[in-house]
Symmetry: C2
Subunit: 272 residues, 2 copies
């Protein structure tokens, strides 16, 4: 399967321009699956609930959705992108899978980072997979990576590729995604943004280095820290179906679930 990440610098409050840029990048390189950054059309640093409300779209509605859906239909491909979602309960930091058949599947970020907690509700999506052509895709968003349970649950559900829209501000993630590949024998596609976004007295510098890892944790390609770029790779999905480390070890079959009972424990705040 030909997969791609798009690394770009959104301009806050200019969704049309951001969308146009991403569209041109995707048109320049054919792929079957594109992964775009978290909140790629809106920008990241919201400083009021009104801004979120203004930027948010209902699932399957709005300019961003229609444009991406038209692209997927015309190019016979799938796209995964991050967007601020307007729902009946409130707003979520979400990602959407859209394919050429008009299907779409939603994921709402379950682990919110920092001040996202002030503007978004914690996600309520089960960690399931999406069937597309001969693959099963799992979606997670940015900070979800630091909780090993996220990628693990997606892999146990059968995900071959973890599609990972991000707006990373810390430097840990990219190397840790190699571990996510190794421990689950899955591909990962991390699509990050670049640039600095300052709004009032708030702001972040984003870390770029979008990457694709193979099932053994090798980085197939890692982008620069500060260049817009689309990268495509041809990956063999069968590699993710074989969980064997050697003739006698299988990463999933060797799990000792009966000893993992603490994973179900909730610990509030600092541990005891």
């Amino acid at each position: 399967m030909q997969v791609a990440f798009v690394q770009m610098e959104p301009r806050f409050g200019y969704p049309e321009a951001n969308l146009e840029k991403v569209l041109a990048m995707m048109e320049s390189k054919p792929a079957e699956l594109y992964v775009l950054p978290e909140l790629f059309a809106s920008g990241y640093v919201f400083i009021s609930p009104d801004e979120v409300a203004k930027a948010a779209d209902k699932v399957g509605d709005g300019l961003v959705y229609r444009t991406i859906a038209d692209f997927a239909k015309a190019r016979k491909c799938a796209v995964i992108y991050g967007f601020p979602e307007k729902a009946s309960e409130g707003y979520f930091n979400s990602s959407l899978f859209v394919d050429e058949f008009g299907n779409h599947k939603l994921y709402r970020k379950i682990h919110l980072f920092f001040e996202e907690k002030q503007y978004f509700l914690p996600g309520n999506s089960p960690l399931g997979t999406i069937a597309y052509r001969d693959t099963k895709l799992g979606m997670m968003i940015c900070f979800d990576w630091i909780f090993p349970e996220t990628a693990r649950c997606l892999a146990l559900a059968g995900a071959d590729i973890i599609c990972h829209p991000v707006n990373l501000v810390m430097s840990y993630c990219q190397d840790s995604m190699k571990t996510r590949s190794i421990e689950n024998r899955i591909f990962t596609i991390t699509a990050n943004r670049i640039g600095e976004e300052k709004r009032g007295d708030k702001g972040f510098k984003f870390t770029g280095k979008s990457q694709i890892t193979d099932c053994e944790g090798n980085v197939i390609y890692r982008a620069d820290v500060d260049k817009e770029e689309i990268f495509t790779a041809d990956i063999n999905i069968e590699d993710a179906r074989n969980k064997r480390v050697n003739d006698l070890n299988d990463l999933f079959g060797d799990r000792r679930v009966e000893y993992y009972n603490r994973l179900g424990e909730t610990i509030d705040g600092i541990h005891q």
Copy 2:
């Protein structure tokens, strides 16, 4: 707390010589806690059940235990070491914590690697912690690292330091232990062996690079691939008690346990 790893090359079948070497190394550098490699006194590449039976000791018995216990008492410290354990049910690949007060605590490796499955029973130890001075220690052995559940359960049980005797033959682990630190905000001490061990038509080359990581995944020190060495570091246990990533995120408090239900699923062999 002053902690240490010992990286050394055991000679198969010469437990007295291996023990003597390790003792001299430990005597050369004072520490409060020493972590030695997996199966450090026996060697690793068993080629018959008789060899395991000959090398194995009951918990709290045998030359290795008595020598280590005497050292801990004399030097007022604790030592964690790997050994082949003779139990009533059979043989386990185990590690033992021994301190100056004559306490000892056992861990039996729950995830066996490759042909260890032919000689050892899968461990049946709960993933709990050991209180020593002002710290809580968690033990895991070698291949346990690739299952994120192991370190996670130990950390959720309150482990400040993961003490990790290993005989590593793959090259993945050392970098992945950085991820184990990051995702759990814990220290890790990985004590590996070096050298090549050939026995009949079997053999392994071990990868050295024993290391200590801090709670943010930084490598405090990593040893060479092929040199015997003892390294000590002074670590501040309080760092492991603070699970905050920032003012609004707590690594344990932010877990969304209700979405992790697949972690309890058993999947036999290749996934569906």
